[in-house]
């Protein structure tokens, strides 16, 4: 049992070291600071979003602290206004690194409002 735990620990450490060397370089966010501190966001952003989605969709509560649209507005790439598209784009980059499926943007806009408007102007 102890041998197994030690083995697992070794594996985990090796994994962490390997991962550390490849931590993604992500687009810098706009704005001063996030709605929560970085550690909390890394750990719990999905819970915040999940909670907020029910509040907004079912009860119609707007302007709340945690909103996916808010994430996109701050964390989008400065050039194309998107959070997806390359390993340095904020959402895609980190989710690829963490190997977690990201399906928000199958339905939700992955670009800022400004980027959508620009696109709209080009192709009506």
């Amino acid at each position: 049992m102890r041998v197994m735990a030690a083995g697992l620990l070794a594996l985990a450490l090796a994994g962490a070291a390997w991962a550390g060397s490849r931590a993604p370089v992500l687009d810098a966010p706009r704005g001063e600071k996030c709605v929560e501190d970085a550690a909390t966001m890394r750990r719990s952003h999905m819970d915040f979003l999940r909670h907020q989605r029910d509040e907004t969709v079912h009860r119609g509560i707007r302007g709340a602290r945690h909103s996916l649209a808010g994430c996109v507005e701050c964390h989008a790439n400065a050039k194309d206004g998107a959070v997806l598209g390359s390993p340095s784009h904020f959402c895609q980059g980190c989710h690829a690194y963490a190997a977690v499926k990201l399906d928000c943007f199958e339905c939700h806009a992955s670009r800022t409002r400004a980027a959508q408007a620009g696109r709209q102007a080009r192709s009506p």
């Binding site: 969709v57 079912h58 119609g60 509560i61 302007g63 199958e106 339905c107 939700h108």
Partner: protein
């Protein structure tokens, strides 16, 4: 569902309602309500509705449809598999030959059959009467489309691109007119209503049916209006004048 402090809400609504202001010469806009404050939920004291005046709706005009498509990032429909949130229907009275034109969209029923049949509760009615699909829990069974008397709902048959921030939409879920809930929550009118006014027809009136002093309530009280398929007693939020 949720206990709501309606008295305060109603007071806020009344003070905001009927700040009827003349914005430009000849154009009178009724401001029905201010934007709901951040953190406030939709109120059951409000019943959003629309009145379509078929005598003003112009045959062949698609301003409302185009505005809806642009607002929600829905491509113009051409195939039976394309989503359509609002459509223009041309009507001919079979006895008199009288011709009418009217937009048809989700009728935002008080007793919506789509909400009844939805197995997961993804199809639901918000407190203020707006019927919506929660696409986080929609499994795409399409039973609501079978149940809807108005053909108001569409299934997304293909992967989507170019979504708008306020209108998430994706393959495998059912969608329909959401009465521009995001605009209404900001204190604006639905896109189709503004577009109809901008086109000079003013055939769609939007407002709170529960507020006796709102334009829509006044109109519904003073002229004969009808609900589509009134025989089903679904008590639609969308009413038609001149049918």
């Amino acid at each position: 569902m949720n206990p709501i402090d309606t008295s305060r809400r109603a007071f806020l609504g009344r003070t905001a309602a009927f700040a009827g202001v003349a914005l430009a010469p000849g154009v009178l806009l009724y401001e029905f309500a201010a934007a709901r404050e951040a953190g406030q939920e939709a109120s059951a004291a409000v019943r959003w509705g629309m009145l379509v005046d078929t005598t003003r709706c112009a045959s062949g005009c698609t301003a409302c449809v185009d505005a809806c498509n642009a607002e929600h990032g829905v491509p113009k429909a051409s195939r039976p598999t394309d989503a359509q949130w609002i459509r223009k229907v041309e009507l001919k009275d079979l006895r008199t030959g009288a011709v009418r034109s009217a937009p048809v969209m989700c009728q935002h029923c008080a007793e919506p059959p789509c909400v009844d049949v939805c197995p997961t509760g993804a199809s639901f009615k918000r407190a203020d009467g707006i019927v919506l699909v929660d696409r986080h829990t929609c499994i795409g069974c399409r039973y609501c489309m079978m149940a809807c008397p108005y053909k108001a709902r569409s299934f997304v048959h293909e992967p989507t691109t170019g979504q708008k921030t306020d209108t998430p939409r994706g393959k495998g879920c059912v969608e329909s007119c959401n009465l521009c809930a995001h605009r209404v929550d900001r204190g604006e009118k639905p896109a189709c209503v503004d577009a109809c006014s901008a086109a000079g027809h003013r055939a769609i009136v939007f407002g709170d049916l529960n507020d006796p002093s709102s334009e829509i309530a006044l109109r519904v009280r003073s002229v004969a209006t009808s609900q589509l398929r009134a025989d089903l007693r679904t008590d639609n939020g969308v009413r038609y004048q001149g049918l």
